[in-house]
């Protein structure tokens, strides 16, 4: 099996005009950056737009000759600025006071690196917990979140009563939420 290219190698290839290299970087960072944006803006419906803008800005900068010292932190910095721009543009008034997202403040490279690690750890934990679920429960979640089916559609497809599907879904969500919660004392 061919070893995965490092970020620096992929950045070099992107700078030389190899477009597929940047695509590999997008696949590598799509979920962590998405999780980071989700945490910043608190609106699932905005994540994809901000993700796309982040990667577009990164590609434009690379094409202009920018060579980041550490690609991941640099990319998270772009995402952080994008979120900040969006929050300023919307003046925060769209949010209920209780749902107010974190304000965008200046952030150091170390903090960006920590954010990256936190998001990657979260995604890894999610992967692990999903793999530990019973097969039928995981299929149920996939039907809901990969295929976008409603409980009624899942019930019809699996031959289960709608109430059973909803109960199973609610139990699984609760299990995952508890498992993904940061340990007590970790206020980050």
């Amino acid at each position: 099996m061919q070893p995965l290219a490092s970020d620096a190698e992929l950045v070099d290839q992107t700078l030389r005009g190899v477009t597929d290299a940047f695509h590999q970087l997008t696949v590598r960072y799509y979920r962590p950056v998405g999780g980071f944006i989700l945490k910043r803006v608190g609106r699932p419906d905005l994540v994809e737009d901000l993700l796309q803008e982040t990667f577009l800005e990164a590609l434009a900068a690379l094409k202009a000759g920018k060579r980041p010292h550490a690609f991941s932190s640099w990319l998270f910095g772009i995402a952080h600025n994008r979120c900040g721009k969006w929050l300023r543009r919307k003046h925060l008034v769209l949010f209920a006071p209780q749902q107010m997202p974190e304000p965008a403040v200046a952030i150091t490279e170390q903090e960006l690196h920590d954010e990256l690690e936190e998001q990657q750890a979260l995604m890894t934990a999610l992967d692990k917990h999903l793999q530990d679920l019973p097969e039928d429960t995981r299929q149920l979640l996939e039907m809901k979140h990969r295929e976008g089916k409603t409980c009624e559609q899942i019930a019809a497809a699996t031959g289960r009563p709608v109430g059973t599907v909803k109960s199973l879904l609610a139990r699984t969500y609760k299990l995952l939420r508890t498992a993904l919660q940061p340990p007590p004392g970790d206020l980050s």
Binding site: L56, H145, R177
Partner: protein, 146 residues
């Protein structure tokens, strides 16, 4: 009537975030959320967790991103290809407009000045003037003219 406790509401929050909440309970949950900050915070957490699940299974997300990057690259190439041509065309158009304007304005001005008093520079052969003063009835410069 809003008689749901926080415990009742929190049991429904994940399903509410997944848009699978019982419609009968929905008004009472909404009313509760408007006045309970703890449940609202839990609801935000539920929404975030569900969004992470969607992100986890969103295999098409990177492909959509790739399409967008390709579209932007094409647009940028098109802009780079078209812009110099447009600039040149605009310069030629501007030149033509100025030339047409001069062709239209100058003969008219010459006709206007000819019907009124001659310009002082043309009257007495001012110093440095290249044109000789016009003599009425002196004929035309062109010998072939009658």
């Amino acid at each position: 009537m809003n008689d749901m406790t926080c415990q009742d509401v929190q049991a429904q929050l994940d399903l509410l975030a997944a848009d699978e909440c019982d419609p009968v309970l929905r008004p009472a949950i909404d009313a509760h959320l408007q006045q309970c900050t703890a449940c609202t915070a839990s609801y935000a957490e539920s929404r975030r967790m569900l969004a992470m699940l969607s992100l986890h299974w969103d295999a098409a997300g990177p492909l959509r991103l790739r399409q967008r990057l390709n579209q932007e690259a094409q647009r940028s190439r098109r802009r780079q290809g078209v812009l110099p041509f447009v600039r040149r065309a605009m310069a030629v158009a501007a030149l033509l407009i100025v030339s047409a304007g001069l062709l239209f304005v100058l003969p008219k001005r010459a006709a206007d000045t000819g019907s009124l008093e001659p310009a002082p520079a043309l009257q007495g052969g001012a110093k440095g003037s290249r044109c000789p003063p016009h003599e009425p009835g002196a004929g035309h410069d062109n010998p072939a003219a009658p």
